[in-house]
């Protein structure tokens, strides 16, 4: 089927009335394998093809299926590449992470690796080529030494996880058109929040963000990370004052805020060579 016929079908409203999916469970997507789904309609398009359930070969140009949804996934993938490499590097560095803390970072690392695979497979199923892994500089031109100093490793880990939570949240609107992708995004987003809470608490912070502060005392965050926490101090949610009951710290902590695409990209870019 060529692209013109495909677009013609997509403009037919009846194709949007039934949500079909070639996979029962989006988590099966990784079983596509390395030679992904050549003979099958991609997941995203399959859900449009309500009235033709069988697989067809396609010759669609990968660049034509780019959309706000796939851009959101590429941003997520960028952040996951970053975290994945960061933790792999940290775990591989001798004498960096104390043995007492290794289990935690092994678990986090396992998840970030899984997220990279999952997002790449999802993009591929939507017939979009996943972006390549960037070259990262976690020192930010020598400003940080996270692979030499464990306290700095923890600081950046906290920054990355808190950023991830806000970045995914900021993309919810862009992915809500595809129910499977939205749900998967939510399911990754909550994992990042679990990570963030853990790393924060390992730094003697609360697991949640109070006001616009990354932390206090020995858990304080350097000014270079201010962008990660900017805007977290809001206490009005849809006209409701969240500070009334217990004060601004509690009210602001009860909600995590979004980062826009531009804000999330700016933070990630700091670490890309």
């Amino acid at each position: 089927m060529n692209i013109l016929k495909l677009l013609d079908k997509l403009s037919d409203d009846s194709f949007f009335t039934k949500q079909t999916s070639r996979l029962d469970n989006l988590s099966d997507i990784t079983s596509f394998g390395k030679k992904a789904a050549v003979a099958a309609i991609p997941l995203g398009l399959g859900s449009f093809m309500a009235t033709s359930a069988k697989a067809e070969t396609t010759t669609i140009d990968p660049t034509t299926m780019k959309s706000a949804l796939t851009d959101a996934l590429q941003l997520a993938l960028t952040l996951e590449y970053l975290e994945d490499e960061y933790y792999a590097k940290g775990l591989a560095k001798p004498n960096l992470i104390p043995s007492s803390d290794r289990v935690v970072f092994q678990q986090i690392s396992k998840h970030e690796t899984a997220h990279v695979s999952f997002l790449k497979a999802t993009l591929t199923s939507l017939n979009v080529t996943p972006i390549a892994k960037p070259t990262f500089d976690f020192t930010v031109n020598g400003a940080f030494a996270p692979m030499d100093d464990y306290q700095q490793f923890l600081i950046l880990a906290q920054a990355f996880e808190d950023t991830g939570v806000r970045a995914y949240k900021g993309q919810a609107g862009n992915v809500m058109s595809n129910k499977d992708v939205l749900q998967a995004a939510l399911q990754i987003h909550s994992v990042e929040a679990r990570h963030a809470s853990m790393v924060r608490r390992m730094r003697s912070n609360k697991g949640w963000i109070e006001l616009a502060s990354g932390g206090s005392g020995s858990g304080a965050m350097p000014p270079a990370t201010n962008a990660v926490y900017a805007g977290e101090d809001v206490t009005m949610q849809a006209g409701f004052n969240t500070a009334t009951a217990f004060g601004a710290a509690a009210g602001s902590a009860a909600y995590d805020e979004v980062l826009t695409t531009a804000e999330a990209t700016a933070i990630a870019t700091l670490f890309i060579d």
């Binding site: 988590s27 990784t30 007492s100 803390d101 289990v103 935690v104 092994q106 678990q107 986090i108 396992k110 998840h111 970030e112 690796t113 899984a114 997220h115 695979s117 999952f118 939570v165 949240k169 919810a172 609107g173 809500m176 129910k179 939205l182 749900q183 998967a184 939510l186 399911q187 990754i188 987003h189 909550s190 994992v191 990042e192 929040a193 679990r194 990570h195 963030a196 809470s197 853990m198 608490r201 390992m202 609360k206 697991g207 949640w208 949610q237 849809a238 006209g239 409701f240 969240t242 009951a245 217990f246 509690a250 009210g251 902590a253 009860a254 909600y255 995590d256 805020e257 979004v258």
Partner: protein, 236 residues
């Protein structure tokens, strides 16, 4: 002054209109201080003992979230009103913060839903038959279950929301619930993988649990005394 008449559906015939009220047979009526002579129809407020339905579309999802936040708020209120024996300073701080956040979430939903519809979930009654509020293990295990359930509920409910503003609001809350869950799990099994364990995060995909409303209510329903339905989501 309104005089409340509590009408029970037990044995009632189908016609429940106010006009035909006095013609109905077999209804149990409890009326306080009423004499029929000189009573105006408008003096009465009818409380029908029907079961509340969460509603359709986004209203249903908001009421669902409100129900779960009511449960969490109720639970943590009990916890902080009588902390378990031997509680540590850190644990007290965590549980107090959780109490604060869930009460805020609950009150937020009540306000938001009230602004959007008349179909506002009433205050539910809860029960904790197997929870010992004076026992650390019991309290933390229950907190863990409630937080994990909250995360799973929001993760699956997101796709039922049509208004992007509501989706973002739900998103702002679910990540906080996940932070809670992580903290509780770490209090139970410190510095292990439990904060984000394989029992909730799929080790292959890295995805957190997502549970359909039916399954959430089945799991959490034991705590909820007041029945309600969500017919649109198959909860009857």
């Amino acid at each position: 002054m309104k005089k409340p008449i509590n009408v029970s559906n037990q044995g009632a015939t189908l016609d429940t209109s106010r006009r035909n009220f006095l013609k109905l047979s077999g209804i149990g009526i409890a009326v306080a201080g009423l004499t029929l002579v000189g009573c105006d129809d408008d003096d009465f407020v009818y409380n029908d003992n029907k079961i509340f339905d969460l509603g359709m579309g986004d209203v249903g999802v908001l009421n669902y979230a409100y129900a779960l936040e009511q449960l969490e708020a109720d639970f943590y209120t009990k916890v902080v009103n009588s902390f378990y024996a031997g509680i540590s300073t850190v644990e007290k701080e965590v549980l107090t913060d959780l109490y604060h956040h869930e009460v805020i979430h609950r009150d937020f939903f009540k306000a938001a839903i009230t602004g959007a519809t008349n179909n506002v979930l009433p205050t539910l009654e809860f029960q904790y038959p197997n929870v010992n509020f004076n026992d650390r293990n019991s309290v933390l295990a229950t907190a863990k279950a409630l937080e994990d359930t909250g995360v799973a509920a929001y993760n699956a409910a997101g796709k039922y929301i049509t208004n992007p503003t509501y989706l973002v609001l739900a998103g702002k809350i679910v990540s906080v619930e996940a932070r809670h869950a992580s903290a509780i799990r770490d209090l139970i099994n410190p510095l292990t993988a439990a904060f984000s364990g394989d029992d909730v995060v799929n080790p292959t995909t890295g995805l957190d649990v997502a549970k359909e409303p039916k399954d959430v209510i089945a799991a959490a329903g034991g705590f909820i005394k007041t029945p309600f339905t969500w017919k649109e989501r198959g909860i009857n």
